[in-house]
Structure formats: structure tokens, C-alpha cells
């Protein structure tokens, strides 16, 4: 198996006023295709920074990152947006659905930016919503859905453009434990189907469900319990 995500000597520093904050300090790691990996650390550990670098929302200050073989370092905004659109499916803690759009339109959003014609967008989004068990909630707006259903819409949205990596940031953090458990079941099922999943969490018991745990603290990754 080849590494779909590769980081070599990656650092990310922020300048806040006069202070320089080392959010990530010389991180190197590789994540295999079709793996289910947890990045685990307390808040302020740098795991969000790591997630945004893997998710192409940001570029490193130094070092190189390759996503599915493409180096993000020298990319401009347009190229990064293109890469996010094609390679990454995001699932956020607070679902991040657009309140004015119904489930179908929310799930179809990545296809809009991929330039897919409207009819095909609808078809693919509907297929994906059925896949996550929301067949009878297509026309509901987020405010009409439960937390678990919202997260399922978000997962459908993450999967709709068939990305190389599913990147989930505390996806069960805003859910009660039984709903959270259902969502985890869904992730496991997706993993078994062959999706590469990167899971960012502070919760050790959730991390233990994953195939591999990358602990992170103070901007450095610790021992790798793979």
C-alpha cells in the first residue's frame, strides 16, 4: 500500500502580535490508502492545524505535504480549492450545513464547485443521502433534522465527489453517545468499503476504534501506536 498523505518536516508557525507560535514543529508522517487513522491530542495540541494542512485549507511554513501525490506547498488559492474539491471530504464537529439549503442541495454543494450539471448533481447527492440512510429526508432543511441526521447529511456531502480522503474533525463531538455510536458505525462501514479516513479527536476511546492512532502534543507527534 502506498502513502496517500505524506508529510516531511512540516512546520506551521503563526505570528500573533510580536509572538511567534509554533503550531506544528517538524512533523513527518505517512498515512496509507484505505486506512482508518486517528489523530489524537488535547485542544491546543496542534491537531486542528494538522487537519487543516492535510485538508489543504492551509499550507505549511516549511516542509512538504503530498496529498495523493500532489505537493500543496507552492499552490495558490485556486489550486488548493481544486484539490480540496476533488481529494478531500470534510466532516466537521458542528456539521457545517448551510441552513437555507435542504439536505439534497447541501449534499450537492461540492459538485456545484466541481462544475457538474444540475441534474447529475441532484442524482449523485440523492444516491449518497440514500447511502447514509436519509432517503426520506431529502427535502428537509437542517433545522428540521436531528443532530445525527445532520451529521449524516454532512457525511453524504463529504462523499459525494468521491474524494480520496475523508477528513473528520470530532464528528461525534456534538452528538449524544448513542447517536455518536451510530455515526462511528457509519465510518467503520465506509472504511470497510475502502475509504481512507482520517479522524481528528481528543477522545481516547474513539481513537482506539481506529486502526492507527497518531498522538499529537505541543505541535509534535509522539509515539505512533500503529
Amino acid at each position: 500500500m502506498s502513502a496517500i498523505i505524506e508529510l516531511e518536516g512540516v512546520s506551521r508557525t503563526y505570528v500573533v502580535g510580536d509572538a511567534v507560535v509554533h503550531a506544528l514543529d517538524d512533523v513527518s508522517l505517512g498515512i496509507e490508502e484505505r486506512s482508518f487513522t486517528a489523530i489524537m491530542g488535547p485542544s491546543g495540541s496542534g491537531k486542528s492545524t494538522l487537519m487543516s494542512l492535510i485538508g489543504c485549507l492551509d499550507v505549511p511554513t516549511s516542509g512538504t505535504i503530498r496529498i495523493d501525490g500532489e505537493e500543496t506547498g507552492g499552490m495558490n488559492e485556486e489550486e488548493l480549492a481544486f484539490l480540496r474539491n476533488r481529494k478531500i471530504g470534510f466532516v466537521f464537529q458542528h456539521f457545517s450545513l448551510l441552513p437555507k439549503l435542504n439536505a439534497l442541495d447541501n449534499a450537492a454543494l461540492p459538485l456545484l464547485y466541481a462544475g457538474v450539471p444540475v441534474r447529475e448533481r441532484r442524482e449523485r447527492a440523492e444516491e449518497m443521502l440514500c447511502r447514509v440512510g436519509l432517503k426520506d429526508r431529502l427535502r428537509h432543511r437542517p433545522s428540521e433534522l436531528s443532530g445525527g441526521q445532520k451529521q449524516r447529511v454532512a457525511i453524504a456531502r463529504a462523499l459525494v465527489n468521491n474524494p480520496a480522503i475523508l477528513l473528520a474533525d470530532e464528528p461525534t463531538g456534538a452528538l449524544d453517545s448513542s447517536t455518536g455510536h451510530e455515526v462511528m458505525e457509519l465510518f467503520h462501514a465506509l472504511h470497510e468499503e475502502g475509504h481512507t479516513i482520517v479522524f481528528v479527536t481528543h477522545d481516547r476511546s474513539l481513537a482506539l476504534e481506529c486502526g492507527r492512532i497518531i498522538p499529537i502534543k505541543d505541535g509534535r507527534i509522539g509515539y505512533d501506536a500503529s
Binding site: 485549507l57 485556486e78 480540496r84 476533488r86 457545517s96 448551510l98 437555507k100 462544475g115 456531502r157
Partner: protein
């Protein structure tokens, strides 16, 4: 494809907070409504001025000699031919002589009536036609017949019970002379100093023989060819007359020149007002910019989500630009409708006929669109520039 989606999103966010949308559009609505109203009224006013010029008047230039000085001795009947020879574009020159006289029919007396001696072509060139009886022709002129055509008001004054045609009236000048009424003119909109309605007309030669033994002509009515500009022919006549007589010894009356002046005053005035109203369009644009800036801040999270899902800066920018253009065009459209309704109401009050200015419609819609782009550009660029991570963090 993206545009349709953007317009849909724009309407959904516009209708999300109706009161706020309405208030932010108020400026542009008032601006467009005032520009449209002013231009419509300007056009209606100028059309009503031109329609008040009599139909036959715009292609005529009247020359009236003044005083009895030696210089005016040149204004004889022959001068009509001189004028035609000297100035290009004159189709014919009709001499008119006139003076005031009292006219009587039995007990009815009309005092100080303008009695005019005209050739038969006078009626045609001023588009005058009879409401009863008929107009005199060349034969009556040559034979110096004592016939008269009365203006509508004069006929009513002298013949309150009607039936003027075929009756005789007395015209006093030094002594009473009896004239046969052969026709009564149709009533004419009394404008631009024309007083056909209360005048009496007799053949030119009859007049010169019976009333005033002189060669001098009272007025020359020069008829201008259709393919010549009456205003510039009037100017040529003026400079010719200045040369041979001097500006003190004649007056010139050119409806086309007056119309041109009136048009230019109306259009200058309405452009001036429209320019002032356009300032409120700019103020309206600032209103749009303000609401768009607020919107970008409020929707930072949404922008972050869209960026995370693959929207590039260009997609975000066009979303917000389409939104601001949709806003400003909606405001413009409402303003256009309001302005048109206001014009209808104003025209109803002034009694003009309504003329919608197409230019006002096109210009105001283009201007609204341009305002949307201009004042939406900065907020849209600001949205496009947001760093995805920071935008997401503010969700």
C-alpha cells in the same frame, strides 16, 4: 449554471430579512424613481410644447417690418420675390397686411378686431380649414371681392345664434364697408401668439384697395421647404435683413426657433434635475455596499464552508457580486415602477400627455446594475480573500 445557482442564493438571502433588504434598497429605489420621473416629465413637457405649435407653423418664418422709417420702404410686395431669390430653402412667401377695425353685425359689435389681408395660400400654409362655408381662393383676390373669413370666436361674437356664412357684416375703417361672410375657420389652439380665432381674413388685394393704399406689406410669411431646417433658414433671413435694413426695422417670428429654444431649456432643466437625482443613486449604492459588508461578516462561516468544499475565490466573489447586482437591480426595478406611476400621476395633474422616456428606463437599469457591480466589488473581494481556516473558525 453557476449563475442560476447564484441568483437563486441571492434571492434566498434577500428574502431572509425583508425589512433589512427593503431599507438597504430604499436609496436606490428613490434614486431611480426620481430619475425616471424627471426624465419622463421632461419628455412629456417637451412633447406637449411641440404639439402646442400649430401643425403648419413649424415650417414658416414670419417677418414683420417695424416703424415707418425710410428703411422699411423696401418692404413691398416685390420684396417677397427678392427674399425668395436671396435665401435658399424658401418655398413661397405670403404677404399679409393687417390692422385693427371694429366690425358690426346688426346689434353685435366686435371692437378692435385684427383684420388681415391674406393671399389664398395663407390658409393652406397655416393648415387652416373652414368649419362652415369655404375659404376664398385666388379669383377672389384678383377680383378684389369683398368677402371675409371669420375666426371661430369672432364668428360667435358677431353671430351668437350661428349661421354666419352668407350674411353680411360691416367693417369700420374711416367708413363702414360691407363684406360677405364666406366661411368660418375651425377653432384653433391659441398658442405662440397666434390669434386666428378672433381675426377676420379678407383677400390681400381687397384689403390694399379698400383699407390701406400703400405698397408696404405688414407681414411676410415665408414657407420653408421640408428638407431645409427652418431654424437655420430663419437665421439666414435674419442676417440678410440686418444687412439690408438693420435689426431695428423688423421683427422675425420663427416657431421652429422658439421650439428649439424651449426644447433646449426643457432638456437642460431635466438633465440638471436628473443629475441631482443621480446623486441619490450613488447614496443608494453606498446603502448596498453597507448591507453587503454586513452580509459578508455575518456569513463568514458560510464562506468558510463553501471554501472547504472547493469554492475558489472566484466562485465566492461571483456569488457576492451576483447578490449585490440582484439587490441593486431589484431596487432599480421597484424604483422604475414607482417612477412610472409617479409620472402617470404628475401628468394627470399637469394635463400633458404621458411620454415614457425609453432612455430613462434603459439608463436607470444599466446604472442600477453598474452600481451593484461597483459597490458590490469591494465586499465581494473581501469575501473571496477570506482565509478558509479563519472563516471556518468563525462559524
Amino acid at each position: 449554471m453557476m449563475l442560476r445557482e447564484n441568483i437563486r442564493m441571492a434571492f434566498s438571502s434577500m428574502t431572509g430579512n425583508r425589512l433589512r433588504t427593503f431599507l438597504s434598497l430604499l436609496g436606490i429605489m428613490i434614486g431611480v424613481a426620481s430619475v425616471v420621473t424627471i426624465l419622463n416629465l421632461g419628455k412629456s413637457a417637451s412633447e406637449s410644447i411641440s404639439s402646442s405649435f400649430n401643425a403648419g407653423g413649424l415650417d414658416t418664418v414670419s417677418i414683420m417690418p417695424r416703424g415707418s422709417a425710410r428703411e422699411t420702404m423696401i418692404f413691398t410686395e416685390e420684396f417677397a420675390y427678392t427674399l425668395m431669390a436671396e435665401i435658399e430653402g424658401i418655398k413661397e412667401v405670403l404677404p399679409v397686411v393687417s390692422s385693427y377695425a371694429n366690425i358690426r353685425n346688426g346689434q353685435e359689435i366686435a371692437e378692435s378686431v385684427s383684420v388681415q389681408g391674406v393671399t389664398s395660400g395663407f390658409f393652406a400654409s397655416n393648415s387652416l380649414s373652414p368649419s362652415s362655408g369655404e375659404l376664398f381662393g385666388a379669383a377672389e383676390n384678383i377680383n378684389r371681392r369683398q368677402v371675409v373669413v371669420l375666426g371661430s370666436e369672432l364668428a360667435e361674437e358677431l353671430f351668437p345664434s350661428g349661421n354666419a356664412v352668407g350674411r353680411y357684416i360691416s367693417i369700420f375703417r374711416n367708413q363702414a364697408k360691407s363684406f360677405l361672410v364666406v366661411g368660418v375657420l375651425e377653432e384653433r389652439d391659441a398658442s405662440m401668439g397666434n390669434s386666428y380665432n378672433d381675426s377676420a381674413f379678407m383677400p390681400y388685394n381687397t384689403y390694399t384697395q379698400r383699407f390701406r393704399r400703400t405698397d408696404q406689406v405688414g407681414t411676410y410669411v415665408a414657407k420653408i421647404y421640408e428638407d431645409f431646417d427652418a431654424t437655420s433658414v430663419a437665421e439666414e433671413i435674419e442676417s440678410y435683413l440686418n444687412e439690408i435694413a438693420g435689426s431695428d426695422y423688423y421683427r422675425i417670428f420663427s416657431p421652429a426657433t422658439i421650439k428649439e429654444m424651449a426644447d433646449s431649456v426643457t432638456s437642460t432643466f431635466s438633465s440638471f434635475l436628473a443629475a441631482i437625482a443621480a446623486i441619490s443613486l450613488v447614496v443608494g449604492g453606498i446603502g448596498i455596499m453597507n448591507i453587503m459588508l454586513v452580509s459578508v461578516v455575518e456569513r463568514t462561516g458560510e464562506i468558510g464552508i463553501r471554501k472547504a468544499l472547493g469554492a475558489d475565490p472566484r466562485a465566492i466573489r461571483s456569488q457576492f457580486l451576483v447578490e449585490s447586482v440582484t439587490l441593486s437591480l431589484s431596487g432599480g426595478l421597484i424604483g422604475l415602477i414607482t417612477g412610472t406611476l409617479l409620472s402617470v400621476a404628475a401628468v394627470h395633474v399637469t394635463g400633458w400627455s404621458l411620454h415614457i422616456s425609453m432612455a430613462a428606463i434603459i439608463v436607470s437599469m444599466l446604472f442600477s446594475g453598474a452600481i451593484g457591480i461597483f459597490f458590490g466589488w469591494y465586499p465581494a473581494a473581501k469575501a473571496a480573500r477570506l482565509a478558509p481556516m479563519e472563516a471556518l473558525a468563525r462559524e
